[in-house]
Subunit: 329 residues, 2 copies
């Protein structure tokens, strides 16, 4: 490992001067700068970021903590965050908590230990408890989810409104016996459930069933099978997450239920295949690009001005109507 010392010796100056040239701060002669630069080139020197980070107590990395890397929503976010950060000369290191509070705590500590400049984060339900025990002073932006305590910057979908609109659409199509499947690992599912119920209530209706479950395909599948056995059977299924949508879809297919005639199906998040299945799925598309960019934006603002008031950015989803809910067509 060639260090700043080697460069200093090679260039015949002190390490302090090398450091100044590297950071382009303080003053130095053009001449010495050139000497140093060529020494650097010659030795193929790269500053040790660990050492720098130890010294200055920060870095040009941001952390991205997602709760489920298999969820296409989060990979879309990851791309957007990555792009926005890269444009500002920051690297992003990404970790997957897998909805596991232990891993979340581990990776949160890791981020702290890494001296990341800030963290973009979709917390598990248990984050509150963890956070109360180990408050951290790293700039934070929370995405996708709500946590109850503490003050943070946020970027979120208007989940209530989106779910309301999606439900309204089902009702407009004449569906009346709605069942809802919601993820239970985050506030997102709960808020979507609220919007779902509110839209029904506005029509003096009640759901046939609502269920909370881990946002995994298998759970969506099982829950849908159970719904099919139920009496009265739902005529439409509302899912709060693309993995649940897939599970429900699979169950309906398995039981040869005609979508949308016998049962309508709607969900959240565009995926590669959501328009390619037959019928294509009606869903709320999230502005993932904008969510990622806003999160990075907010994070940098907070880094620059740590004491500013906390902001909440609420973005609207877009209803994309496809055949899976078009009973009247």
């Amino acid at each position: 490992m060639t260090s700043i010392k080697d460069v200093a010796i090679e260039a015949g100056v002190s390490t302090a001067t090398v450091s100044r040239v590297l950071a382009n701060k303080g003053s130095f002669k053009a001449d010495t700068r050139d000497k140093i630069l060529s020494a650097i080139a010659k030795l193929n020197y790269r500053p040790n970021l660990i050492a720098r980070s130890l010294r200055v107590q920060t870095s040009t990395k941001i952390g991205l903590l997602v709760s489920d890397i298999r969820n296409p929503f989060f990979t879309a976010i990851a791309r957007a965050v990555e792009d926005a950060a890269y444009a500002r000369g920051y690297s992003v290191i990404m970790c997957n908590t897998d909805e596991n509070p232990e891993k979340e705590a581990l990776y949160l500590d890791l981020m702290r230990d890494e001296n990341v400049a800030g963290v973009i984060f979709s917390p598990t339900q248990q984050f509150n408890a963890t956070h109360v025990q180990h408050p951290t002073h790293i700039p934070f932006v929370i995405i996708d989810r709500t946590v109850n305590e503490g003050e943070f910057d946020w970027v979120q979908l208007d989940n209530y409104a989106a779910a309301y609109e999606l439900t309204e659409h089902l009702l407009a199509q004449g569906y009346r016996k709605l069942a809802g499947l919601f993820g239970d690992t985050s506030s997102t599912g709960f808020e979507r459930k609220k919007g779902f119920l509110a839209a029904l209530a506005a029509h003096q209706l009640e759901p046939i069933a609502t269920q909370l479950m881990p946002p995994r395909l298998a759970h969506g599948f099982d829950a849908t099978q159970a719904l099919l056995a139920q009496n009265p059977r739902p005529d439409a299924i509302f899912t709060s997450n693309s993995l649940l949508t897939a599970g429900a879809f699979q169950a309906l297919r398995t039981h040869k239920i005609a979508i949308p005639q016998e049962i309508g199906l709607v969900g959240f998040d565009e995926t590669t295949w959501s328009e390619l299945v037959e019928p294509a799925i009606t869903l709320i598309a999230q502005p993932t690009e904008e969510i990622g960019h806003s999160a990075v934006e907010l994070l940098f603002q907070r880094i620059q001005e740590p004491e500013r008031a906390h902001r909440k950015v609420i973005l609207q989803g877009t209803l994309r109507i496809h055949a899976s809910s078009m009973r009247n067509f």
Copy 2:
């Protein structure tokens, strides 16, 4: 930030002793250990990994560098790697190069700078050049792809055999006018192309068309549209990547081509939706779990024994036959 010094003062010992207790190496009285432990608890002390890393020149992190986080194959790998590493007490930091050699170089440097214990890595085509310029001594395991130069540990699918088998299947179904769409950003596409051609050659056949393209949905779509306009038109399309499969599928759907009767379609990688579309897609499933675990395994072996001979782990894919290629059914 509470440091080891604070703990030492609180416990009335030296930092050296605290460090020994922390690492559980060297010797100390049970009594002093207890004093130190309670001081740690009281102060809520956590060792600074940056400082430790600076000192010992390594860490308990491994880096995972993937080339496209939107490709479900890589997220599946990420999960597997994560699990295996976590089981050994290692954290994984994941970066997305997005098939961009610049980002790749950046993140490779980052990994080095982070003192990661090792890197699991799916390199871009350009990696060779980069690597020759900046050889690195970090333990490496290459996944999914081949690079020409240098010596590494590898975990890979037997792409040639998988493609051969997949093509044989098409031929067995009576398809004769095959077209192949292959990703052009990695060796994987090339090897699959070879297997494809070899299987055809074994039947004295030639492909109707083969095309190389970026592994993105839009490219698969466009290429398939072009194939449909072509004369003679293919009666089956072979795709080397799930994003290309999706693009081809979409194009066939758009043009109302009956799969598998008019045109058969096959591809690689199971995804959430690949069995849910109509018809379900015949494909080669990769053992992602095993790939991830093997990669971690290989990496730890190399970390422990840096000079050992390089190994290559070749895993077999599994042909999953579904309706998209079942013309005879």
